[in-house]
Amino acid sequence: MNGLSLPRQLLALLAGLLLSLPLLAESRQYELGVDGLACPFCAYGIEKKLRVIDGVAQVRVDIANSLVRVTMREGATLSEARARRAVEQAGFTLRSFREAGGG
């Protein structure tokens, strides 16, 4: 962008931001209520089981509230059935499942 004037640089930056917004909005987040989670050592099992699901970008375990927040890659979705299976494989019980909104 060295050859562009300052207004054109700002326009290009603005256009880039506008174009990226829809992509960011497609990065879905889910909030899983998980019963049985009571210590950090057990939390690792559930994190590992969710991370191997196709499209999962990030898993964060909120042990105090028994919640697991899953962020998907752009365009990827997580079904309740798949989430339930991962939670059960880790030895716990899925209490609730909801889409928490885009990132």
Partner: protein, 305 residues
């Protein structure tokens, strides 16, 4: 001397059994049967154990065992977990007063391999808590050397690293865990197999563990490491040995009842746990001049693959 040998055998058996117990939640330090494992995952525990026993009688018998207990657990599915436990004895030493003076004999090496399976029969999960009942069944294979010798001759059977016999054990583990504390308990029966005319006394155990979260005091979001204050209780009753190999028959100076208390600490992260405890005798009622525990020290780690 014969009774010394028999009691050394008990020391080895108990040491192995204790190293066995532990895989599924934070889990106790002095037993392995409650170790948590997710489906398709492994958990690995290593624990250094130093154990001292004595009888205080005219023979002034002292038995010391320095060992490393290795346990590997695998989650076959969300309810069934299988475990393998193998002790390595750096040193198993017997010191006893004889007419010829103080005699010391020792050995070491790999001990007997124990395999067991645990099935979670009942599970009730709620927000930040879980209650589980899981029966378990296992066997111990005679993989350790039971024919080691020193300058005096073949070592007494109880001093050998291996028992030479096949043992079976089974019981039930109950776990109640919340975010603030965890209670694990196990009731276990162990039938020791007869080998070469020697039949070590069978054993009943009731173990319990309380783990209380001391830090962090308050939980916020995310998953911080926990520091648990631990108090464990180990109650055991061991039957008398039968030694037909030496023509002794039922040994009056073997077995008995013992209760140990173990304060300890656990530092628990998502991936690993550091833990340590000291087991001290609270009460005992040995048969005759059977050996009694002076103390056990345990320190080790657990790792989630």
């Amino acid at each position: 001397m014969a009774s010394v040998r028999h009691h050394t055998r008990h020391a080895a058996a108990l040491c192995l059994l204790l190293s066995l117990s532990g895989a599924a939640q934070a889990a106790p330090i002095t037993f392995n049967t409650a170790l948590p494992v997710a489906e398709g995952e492994f958990v690995w525990r290593e624990q250094l154990v130093r154990r001292r026993r004595s009888d205080g009688g005219p023979l002034d018998r002292e038995v010391s065992v320095d060992a490393l207990g290795s346990v590997l657990g695998y989650g076959a599915n969300s309810r069934l977990a299988v475990f393998a436990a193998l002790p390595y004895f750096f040193d198993r030493e017997l010191r006893v007063t004889t007419p010829a003076g103080r005699l010391q004999r020792d050995t070491g090496g790999i001990g007997d391999l124990a395999l067991f399976a645990r099935y979670t029969l009942y599970k009730r999960d709620s927000k930040g808590a879980t209650f589980r009942i899981a029966p378990l069944l296992g066997l111990e294979a005679p993989t350790g050397d039971d024919r080691d010798r020193d300058a005096v001759g073949r070592l007494p059977r109880p001093l050998q690293a291996g028992s030479g016999g096949w043992d079976v054990f089974g019981g039930v583990v109950v776990t109640w865990q919340t975010l603030q504390y965890q209670i694990d308990s196990q009731l276990l029966f162990r039938e020791n197999g007869r080998h070469d005319g020697f039949d070590p006394g069978d054993q009943w155990r009731f173990d319990a563990s309380l783990q209380y979260r001391a830090w962090p005091r308050e939980l916020t979001g995310d998953t911080p490491a926990f520091l648990y204050l631990v108090l464990e209780s180990n109650l055991s009753h061991t039957g008398r040995d039968i030694d037909d190999e030496r023509g002794i028959g039922l040994d009056p100076n073997s077995g008995g009842t013992q209760w140990l208390l173990a304060p300890g600490l656990q530092y628990v992260t998502q991936r690993w746990i550091l833990e340590g405890a000291v087991q001290l005798p609270a009460a005992s009622n040995p048969h005759g001049n059977a050996l009694e525990d002076d103390y056990l020290v345990r320190a080790g780690f657990r790792y989630n693959f």
